[in-house]
């Protein structure tokens, strides 16, 4: 169960290959010698406890953060080495759904989805209008084109952000916590959308979540992060039946086990005495 040694998908099937990744915001590392492969055309879930670096990993894949060591390969090109124009060219092939949607608040729904088209292409207004309507139809919000971001509910905003993420027909869509704070129906809608978009548009999807149930139900392949590295990986059923104690602890939601519940700290008794 180590990403470095074996992986089900062969290298040709990989859209993203991360090798020996080392990263930290400060001297303290978040990833240390981590390797993983995102298979092409599949939905891959990245799961792990809060603060283990899931959002950070998406930042690294998108080239917003630079690793201290190791390589990040996207469709045969090094994201970690790309800068300026080359980096922007890579990002044009990626779509990203941020945790809080990140819609541009000074534009309405229609203009938010048109934004990447207007910025990146010289398409005539007529074509942009058609593309935006098509993307809105895909997420079921064609009727909401005129609404301002502040007028959308959380679930609607996330769908608009999703429509925006796929506006330029990317090869990869990254979802950061797409299920957080949604009611069961909106959640179902998003789950269905991620799957359908992935298959219909032959995308590759990376879904970051700490929701074990949804993650396992939606994913073809699962990585569980923790402890600065990959704790375990495999297909959803492999993960579900895993014997690995750390993986079991996480998917069963046991409060304490090999992965400690406590953030590293001084001994409790010492802390109480001194403060």
């Amino acid at each position: 169960m180590n990403a470095r040694t074996t992986n089900n998908s062969s290298a040709e099937d990989a859209l993203i290959t991360i090798e020996n990744l080392e990263f930290g915001f400060s001297r303290e590392l978040i990833f240390k010698g981590m390797s993983l492969i995102i298979p092409r055309g599949k939905v891959t879930a990245i799961m792990g406890p809060s603060g283990c670096g899931k959002s950070t990993l998406l930042g690294l894949i998108g080239g917003r953060l630079k690793p201290k060591r190791g390589s990040i390969n996207f469709a045969g090109r090094r994201v970690d080495k790309a800068r300026g124009k080359n980096l922007y060219a890579l990002r044009r092939e990626m779509g990203m759904l941020f945790q809080n949607s990140a819609l541009l608040t000074d534009l309405d729904t229609f203009e938010n989805i048109a934004f990447p088209l207007r910025e990146q292409t010289a398409l005539p207004e007529e074509i942009i209008r058609i593309i935006v309507k098509m993307k809105l139809e895909l997420v079921g919000l064609r009727g909401a084109a005129e609404l301002q971001p502040a007028e959308l509910s959380g679930g609607m905003a996330r769908r608009v952000a999703l429509a925006r993420a796929i506006a330029l027909d990317p090869r990869l869509v990254m979802y950061d916590e797409p299920f957080v704070g949604l009611d069961p129906i909106s959640m179902g809608v998003i789950v269905k959308l991620i799957r359908e978009l992935n298959d219909a548009l032959s995308l590759t999807s990376v879904v970051v979540t700490h929701d074990v149930q949804e993650g396992l139900s939606i994913a073809d392949y699962v990585y569980i992060l923790g402890d600065q590295n990959v704790l375990g990986h495999g297909t959803a059923s492999e993960i579900q039946n895993s014997e690995d104690p750390m993986v079991r602890q996480f998917i069963q939601g046991l409060p304490d086990g090999p992965v400690p519940y406590q953030y590293p700290a001084n001994p409790y008794a010492d802390d109480l005495r001194h403060d």
Binding site: Y88, R91, R92, M94, F98, A102, L104, T105, P116, Q120
Partner: protein, 279 residues
């Protein structure tokens, strides 16, 4: 060993500790300042490139001219009018003591175009537009809009910073001119309307005494420089605001305080360069 003993006897230990602490604090502050300067340079260069790039898209600049400049007009006009009336009143009281009230128009026009127009406009601009810019960009950072732009392969320096920088630099001299003109009418209302200075004399002394290059142009240059400083500080503070509500609120305060202080200090510098240099 011996030397050490002598020195501790001459200088008491607490004093040595205090000295070490002071040196340490000085060092920390220097490091902080160097880091701040580095951040500033790292912000200015891409901002400048963004400003050049956005020239191809004047529509973005015009949009910002509206929210940065046009929306600041009301406060500038009202403030200019009152400042002008006060100048008219005080000027008349002082000048009439020497029977020199005919110079009121000239005095007010020089005061406004050289100093009060650029300075008060910049201070008001920092409070009205600067704070709004910081809050807007800080919130864009906090709500990941800037990160989202980057992921859509859009350069925020070009799309967000560039147009706002232009808008600030263009608006400021126009607003300062507006302030001065309205201020002159304010003083006219008091001087001519209330105290009965001759209408023709009020304007003709002004026309004769105000020099275009020396007074008007210097005032315009001044307010353009203030525009760069205030807008630059506002955008910088917003861009590097901590992505929390508290972070944005602090950044907004810093924008108003820092740019106000910069304006006043810079004004002294610019005035001595422009008006006190070798004649």
């Amino acid at each position: 060993m011996v030397r050490y003993r002598i020195s501790t006897r001459l200088i008491p230990m607490p004093m040595i500790y205090a000295m070490i602490r002071t040196i340490g604090e000085l060092g920390a502050r220097t490091v902080g300042m160097v880091r701040w300067a580095g951040k500033g340079a790292g912000f200015l260069l891409p901002s400048f490139l963004g400003m050049l790039a956005v020239l191809r898209r004047p529509r973005l600049i015009i949009q910002q001219l509206y929210s940065v400049g046009v929306l600041s007009m009301v406060i500038i006009v009202i403030a200019g009018f009152f400042v002008g009336m006060v100048l008219g009143l005080q000027g008349y009281i002082q000048l009439s003591a020497y029977k020199a009230e005919s110079a009121l128009g000239l005095g007010v026009a020089l005061t406004l175009s050289r100093e009060l127009g650029p300075v008060v406009t910049a201070l008001l601009f920092a409070g009205r537009a600067g704070s709004a810019l910081t809050a807007e960009i800080g919130l864009m950072r906090a709500t990941e809009q800037l990160a989202a732009m980057e992921m859509m392969a859009v350069n925020p320096y070009e799309r967000v910073i560039g147009p706002r920088f232009w808008a600030g630099i263009i608006s400021m001299p126009l607003l300062a001119a507006m302030f001065s003109v309205v201020g002159i009418y304010g003083s006219w209302l008091v001087g001519v309307g209330q105290f009965g200075i001759d209408h023709g004399i009020f304007w003709s002394t002004m026309e004769a005494g105000v020099d275009f290059g020396e007074d008007i142009l210097n005032g315009v240059v001044k307010s353009a420089i203030f525009g760069v400083v205030v807008t630059g500080i506002a955008l910088f503070e917003g861009y590097y605001a901590k992505p929390t509500s508290e972070g944005v609120s602090r950044a907004t305060t810093r924008t108003v305080v820092n740019s106000s202080l910069c304006i006043l200090a810079l004004d002294y510098l610019l005035t001595s360069l422009m008006f006190a240099g070798p004649a």
